[in-house]
């Protein structure tokens, strides 16, 4: 199994070590660790082409939501998820605005009644990997119900 443009060889080697498996209480019956399983992905059936119903139901039930996107990702790009957020049907509160970490623009955010949509400027698909400080700031603000 290979992943385009991503090299997880070091992690695969580390998690394949016997002493690491032992430290993590992994039994011998468990498989060798790989980052992504071809067996699982190739035998997986996707049943939900859109998650609008489930996300809207959760928000209507009073669960707070955050949809965020690193804005340099082509895999699941920010625009599609912004459209998704718009189409959930919840009224937008305020305008699309920048949010900041250490005085610099960390991204842009749009608040809706019940959830927020945010971008992380310059981040790829895995936001906490590419923009760790902004990601921590964002999740902390979300957990504390602080507007950012």
């Amino acid at each position: 199994q290979t992943i385009p443009c991503v090299d997880d060889a070091i992690l695969i080697r580390y998690l394949g070590r016997n002493d690491v498996r032992q430290a993590l209480n992994i039994p011998s019956a468990a498989p060798d660790w790989v980052d992504c399983s071809t067996v699982v992905s190739s035998n997986y059936t996707m049943q939900n082409p859109s998650l609008k119903t489930q996300v809207a139901a959760s928000i209507k039930a009073g669960k707070r939501g955050l949809i965020y996107n690193g804005d340099t990702d082509l895999v699941c790009d920010f625009l599609g998820d912004e459209w998704f957020s718009d189409q959930l049907g919840f009224p937008q509160i305020g305008s699309y605005e920048a949010w900041y970490v250490n005085g610099q623009v960390a991204g842009f955010v749009k608040h809706y009644d019940g959830f927020a949509y945010a971008t992380i400027r310059g981040s790829g698909h895995t936001v906490p990997e590419y923009r760790p400080a902004a990601a921590l700031f964002m999740i902390e603000a979300f957990l504390n119900s602080t507007k950012f």
Binding site: T2, I3, P4, C5, D7, D8, I10, L11, Y14, L15, D19, V20, A23, L24, N25, A29, A30, P31, V34, D35, C36, S37, V39, V40, S41, N43, Y44, M46, N48, L51, Q54, A57, S58, K63, R64, L66, I67, G70, T72, L74, V75, C76, D77, L79, G80, D81, F84, G124, H125, T126, V127, P128, E129, Y130, P132, A135, L136, I139, E140, L143
Partner: protein, 303 residues
């Protein structure tokens, strides 16, 4: 806490782990063993919220999140270093490897055929199993978090949690989520053009063949569900171009980090088994078009 699962040391880490860490297995449906790592908050574990983190794929391990994203450690060769931006600075975090067959998770039957429904059902069972191990967290505010194909895992688990009053479920956060196949497919084409990945003449061909009256506003264009041959062909040519230049699709301004050996393997097998790591709108366009059309689209076959 469930002492049998306690992790007292990790190879490569100098010194003690500064926070309670547990690693073990949770029960899904009978015979299903889902691996988790739980790290307590470095702030105030008794009062901080509890987060479940799921990576996507489908088929990718949440230990990617643990060791390369928001987990407390980074792997540097054979050494572990601290991630100063770990989310367990502010929250208690569970990283779950799901469904069975992912990472260290497995099933006794060896059956690794899954779908969205069975995955979310097993995730709920695993979560309940976790709370049996750690009942002291029952009253903590609980959040679902994850990215990519977890954009499916989280909403489907969320609606199940709405029926579970015993869990103090408060909300969810989804990063770069696979939330809508058609929207992400359509947006990917625009993203590619507006980031200079395809040129203006190609864009014009796409617009004139895919959009009503050549009006390029999003509501007038459908690049994904089109039945128009010219539109399909134009989109396929654009997507094939981007897919064959070794651009890092996960972060277009970063280098393609694949090692020389894996790049060679990837090149050989890519047509049939391109990774599903974080299932994407872009690849779905590619897949759909390749399967549904018998077009004569030239591809660069890299040997």
């Amino acid at each position: 806490a469930f002492e049998a699962d306690r992790v007292t040391k990790l190879p490569g880490l100098s010194g003690e782990i500064k926070f309670n860490t547990f690693s073990g297995y949770l029960d899904g449906e009978p015979g299903t063993h889902l691996h988790y790592i739980f790290v307590e908050s470095q702030n105030d574990p008794a009062n901080d919220p509890l987060l479940l983190w799921l990576n996507g794929g489908p088929g990718c391990s949440s230990l990617l999140g643990f060791f390369t994203e928001q987990g407390p450690f980074r792997v540097n060769g054979s050494q572990l270093t601290e991630n100063q931006y770990s989310w367990n600075k502010v929250a208690n975090m569970i990283f779950l490897e799901s469904p069975a067959g992912v990472g260290y998770s497995y099933s006794d039957s060896g059956n690794y055929t899954h779908d969205d429904d069975s995955t979310s059902a097993n995730n709920l069972l695993a979560l309940k199993s976790w709370f049996v191990k750690f009942p002291e967290y029952k009253n903590h505010d609980f959040y679902l978090t994850g990215e990519s194909y977890a954009g499916v895992y989280i909403p489907t688990l969320s609606v199940r949690l709405l029926e579970e009053p015993s869990i103090n479920y408060k909300g969810f956060a989804i990063g770069n989520g696979y939330l809508d196949r058609v929207l992400l497919g359509n947006s990917a084409i625009r993203f590619a053009y507006h980031h200079g990945l395809i040129d203006s003449s190609m864009w014009r061909k796409i617009i004139t063949s895919c959009c009503n009256n050549g009006d390029e506003s999003p509501e007038n264009c459908d690049f994904v569900q089109t039945t128009d041959y010219k539109c399909s062909k134009a989109v396929a040519i654009a997507s094939n171009f981007i897919n064959n230049i070794n651009l890092n699709p996960y972060s277009i301004y970063e280098d393609c980090r694949t090692t020389a050996s894996s790049l060679a393997v990837d090149t050989l097998v890519t047509r049939k088994h391109r990774s599903n790591r974080r299932k994407l709108g872009w690849s779905l366009i590619r897949k759909t078009l390749k399967q549904s059309e018998t077009m004569e689209v030239e591809e660069d076959h890299i040997t």
